[in-house]
Amino acid sequence: MIHLKVNGSAHTFEGDPEMPLLWYLRDMLGLTGTKFGCGMALCGTCTVLENGKAIRSCSNPMSKMEGVSITTIEGISERGPHPVQKAWAEMNVPQCGYCQPGQIMQAVSLLSEKHHPTDADIDEGMAGNICRCGTYQRIRAAIKEAAKETA
């Protein structure tokens, strides 16, 4: 039996230990804000925070989740929009919006490490997250905007 916390609540899991965290969140807990994009940690659409750091939930099996604390997109906005979400809305970043929960979680993780990221930091931090609609320019602007508030 695997014990973990998701958005602050304690959960136990007894299913297939190979099941990626992504499908546990989506199919078992109904937390569908975290998206499926590639299944191979290539696109970042499934990004969540593990103990505050971005991970790809599609490629991390439940067997590795014992004792961890997971935060999903649903968990960062429980008490109103997060500064990163506010900046995203301010810049009107999303087009289709499917990759944006993953982008936002990645940006939250980046900003927790680099309070004032340079363009190079943003390139490095965000290059794992694909947006097929091509909102990168606005994502970059939104991260800089959020940095002002989170700093």
Partner: protein
């Protein structure tokens, strides 16, 4: 209306049809049938939310027909003053859930903060819901204004009646209220709704339309209606639909198009925890059109188990004749065909006589590979078959197509199938084809349970309806100044028509209209041709379709002619465009009347983009350069300048892109800007990507071998200038893509002296 099945020509020549069918008739039918509105049946609150794109936090989903006053299919007004507006077309990043309702709200003089947008189900009463061809605003601008103006007039008449004053004394002012000009009396829209509902629908000639100076929303930038919810992960995409008692399916599709199952060993699959059973799906009957590919479905109680069970499946396939298809050999065939005379599509003057005169002749061949859509949300659909009634929840660009195809597959009537449209995690044309929704319906029928079919990324890349591979040949005779006196262009590609007619090898008029039958250049003697090509994979339309390879060839060739004439490419381009004039555009008469092909508008955007880019201030070379291209598609004029920095290893950086757009009236300039920012990124991926096949099997499968532009290799900054115009609205979702790739390749030439005639750029030593 033309149905999809008839021909690809029909499918793609919608550009014509839609412009002509801006149908007062269809709109009025909608108006008149408003009271006979059919409620969609949903089985649980969660489904109702999914159906209407409501968020999990919204308790009750309102409807137009449930409103106190609903003078048509697109809007209703509740007694509390809430205005419900239907987004009847698909939201996939194109912004239609914002732009279309704001057109209604503008003519209604509604307070946008009191508007609630709901998603329309698949239903003919709305008019076309095929969200492709960049025509949502273009086709519905007038009908939606009419809807708003109709409701406003009825509210004014209701107020006049209530006050017993002449109608002329009442105005919808300042917003969401009717005021009596002779007194200070005001009545809110909510207060007037019940009375307005009793009034007859006014005649169109009685309506008053606002002048552009009076517009409060049209042409003004606005954030996306759903932006806050999207940033919170709340909207229900097709991938997020969950239905009580639902099963999950992953399907092993035949690896080669037209393949069939020879034998299946599912012993290991059935041992996977969570797997319930396997079910064969019949192969299609040619032509494949929108039918499922066939194969074997693994049914499980969660997505992961279905995927894992499919990995354990041992299937022997009968691959059929397409197993002979290898793209490297096929490429040579296409190129050879392109060197031979083809079918003339359009001729002006006598190019052969001009070529026969001798003089300087310039020729070039271009090649562009297959591309995949790769929307971030792979194809997915959920269906629930109950007896002879079916409910489908699908991310689809074509909800009526979903109903038609599901009905056909199950032997039902279209009226028996309800299609709820979810949010789409990207579409780009892939989600116009409802094959995956049919799979869900077939499996729901066989299991007796609701079934959600989930495609993996590998399924998405390998079993796409691919953007066509194309070989093109161009030839020009030029005078002493380097100006062409004759121009021949020939394009060869497996046509979209092959999806609907297995014998189709020539392009339909639709693809020829996408940047090929005519060019905007001042060349007296011209001929465009098309040569035959057989398809061995499913061919479909991808964002801007044949414009991508056609603009690549024409705009690269224009650059080659400039270089040959030793002229600046931008100056040369202006010379080629010549004096501003209306050209014979090979459009339907109605389209020509409303949207004449005016090269002055193309010149104008070229000048705007070049000026913003400071074109000509810095000499290209030593790894730095700029390239320019112009293209008109979906009735919109676009010029793009791309700036590149290329290092010694061939790595291409794109610090700046300057795009100028003339799309006529634009509903929401900020959304237009984002469409063109995104088009530059989409174009970057198009320049770097290729889909190839070996023995009929697609070689690529996921983002490691079919890479997408990322934050660190996409254009750093895209500048978008929108021409202020009162010309009729044209398209904005697609037209940004076509000029990008040739502008990029022309920039790489300026920076390095290396000409790219074959895409992707990675085949030329660049990355």
């Amino acid at each position: 209306m033309i149905t999809r099945e008839k021909t690809a020509e029909a499918a793609i020549a919608m550009e014509y049809v839609r412009v002509e069918n801006v149908s007062r008739r269809g709109f009025l039918q909608g108006l008149l049938s408003a009271s006979a509105f059919v409620l969609c049946v949903t089985q649980s609150p969660l489904l109702a939310k999914a159906a209407r794109n409501g968020t999990p936090t919204s308790a009750v989903i309102p409807t137009v027909e449930g409103s106190t006053f609903h003078p048509g299919v697109y809007l209703g007004i509740q007694s509390d003053g809430t205005v419900i507006i239907v987004a009847h077309r698909t939201e996939m990043g194109n912004g239609v859930r914002t732009s279309l309702p704001r057109i209604v709200a503008d003519e209604l003089d509604a307070d946008w903060s009191r508007v609630k947008v709901i998603q329309g189900d698949g239903d003919e009463k709305y008019g076309s819901q095929d969200t492709d061809g960049s025509h949502s605003v273009r086709e519905f601008f007038e009908p939606l204004r009419e809807a708003g103006a109709t409701a406003r007039l009825m509210l004014i008449r209701a107020a006049a009646q209530q006050w017993g004053v002449p109608e002329s004394q009442c105005v919808a002012d300042p917003v969401h209220v009717v005021s009596d000009k002779s007194s200070n009396r005001k009545l809110g829209y909510g207060e007037l709704a019940a009375l307005a509902a009793k009034l007859p629908i006014p005649k169109k000639e009685d309506l008053h339309f606002k002048s552009p100076q009076e517009w409060r929303y049209i042409g003004k930038p606005a954030p996306g209606y759903d932006v806050t919810d999207v940033c919170a992960g709340k909207p229900l995409f097709g991938m997020d639909v969950r239905v009580d008692g639902m099963l999950y399916a992953a399907i092993a599709h035949p690896p080669v198009l037209g393949g069939k199952v020879k034998s299946v060993d599912d012993a290991s699959t059935l041992k996977v925890k969570g797997v319930k059973k396997t079910i064969p799906i019949d192969p299609f009957t040619p032509p494949h059109a929108f039918q499922p590919l066939g194969g074997v479905a693994v049914i499980a109680d969660n997505t992961w188990s279905a995927f894992k069970g499919r990995e354990q499946l041992k299937v022997q396939w009968d691959n059929g004749p397409n197993a002979a298809y290898t793209s490297a050999d096929y490429k040579k065939q296409l190129q050879e065909t392109a060197r031979k005379p083809g079918k003339a599509v359009y001729t002006a003057g006598d190019p052969d006589a001009e070529f026969a005169k001798g003089g300087k002749i310039i020729e070039a061949e271009y090649f562009a590979p297959h591309l995949a859509h790769a929307s971030m949300e792979p194809p997915v659909a959920t269906a629930d078959v109950r007896g002879d009634k079916v409910t489908v929840w699908s991310p689809t660009q074509n909800p009526v197509g979903v109903r038609e195809e599901v009905a056909k597959a199950l032997g039902l009537k279209k009226e028996d199938v309800t299609c709820h449209v979810t949010f789409l995690g990207g579409g780009f044309g892939r989600k116009s084809k409802p094959d995956y929704a049919v799979e869900a319906a077939v499996l729901s029928k066989k299991t007796g349970k609701p079934v959600k079919v989930v495609w993996s990324r590998e399924d998405d890349i390998r079993f796409d309806y691919f953007h066509s591979v194309a070989a093109m040949y161009l030839k020009a005779a030029v005078d002493a100044n380097g100006k062409p006196t004759a121009w021949l262009q020939r394009s060869v590609f497996p046509p979209i028509g092959s999806t609907f007619d297995k014998t189709a090898v020539y392009s339909g008029a639709g693809e020829m209209s996408l940047g090929w039958n005519v060019i905007p250049f001042d060349v007296t003697n011209f001929r465009s041709e098309n040569g035959p090509a057989e398809a061995h994979v499913r061919i479909g339309w991808l964002r801007s379709v044949a414009n991508i390879y056609h603009a690549f060839a024409v705009q690269s060739f224009a650059n080659e002619l400039a270089v040959s004439a030793n002229r600046d490419p931008y100056d040369y381009l202006l010379m080629l465009l010549g004096e501003g004039r209306k050209i014979e555009a090979q459009q339907s008469p109605d389209t020509n009347a409303k949207y004449p092909y005016d090269t002055a508008r193309l010149r104008n955007v070229a000048q705007l983009a070049a000026d913003r880019a400071n074109w000509g201030k810095k000499k290209g070379g030593n790894g730095w350069g700029m390239g320019i291209a112009v293209h008109r598609s979906f009735l919109t004029y676009v010029a793009t300048v791309v700036e590149v920095e290329v290092d010694g290893s061939g790595a291409v950086k794109i610090p700046n892109v300057y795009t100028a757009v003339d799309a006529g009236i634009v509903a929401n300039p900020d959304m237009v800007r984002s469409q063109f920012e995104g088009a530059a990124v989409f174009g970057t991926s198009a320049a770097r990507g290729e889909i190839t096949a070996t023995n009929g099997v697609i070689d690529q499968s996921n983002f490691h071998d079919y890479p997408m532009a990322r934050m660190n290799d996409a254009p750093m900054h895209v500048d978008v200038q929108i021409v202020q115009s009162l010309a009729p609205p044209a398209g904005v979702g697609e037209p940004g893509v076509p000029p990008f790739v040739p502008a990029l390749c022309n920039a790489i030439y300026a920076a390095t002296g290396k000409r790219i005639r074959e895409l992707p750029i990675t085949r030329n030593g660049f990355s």
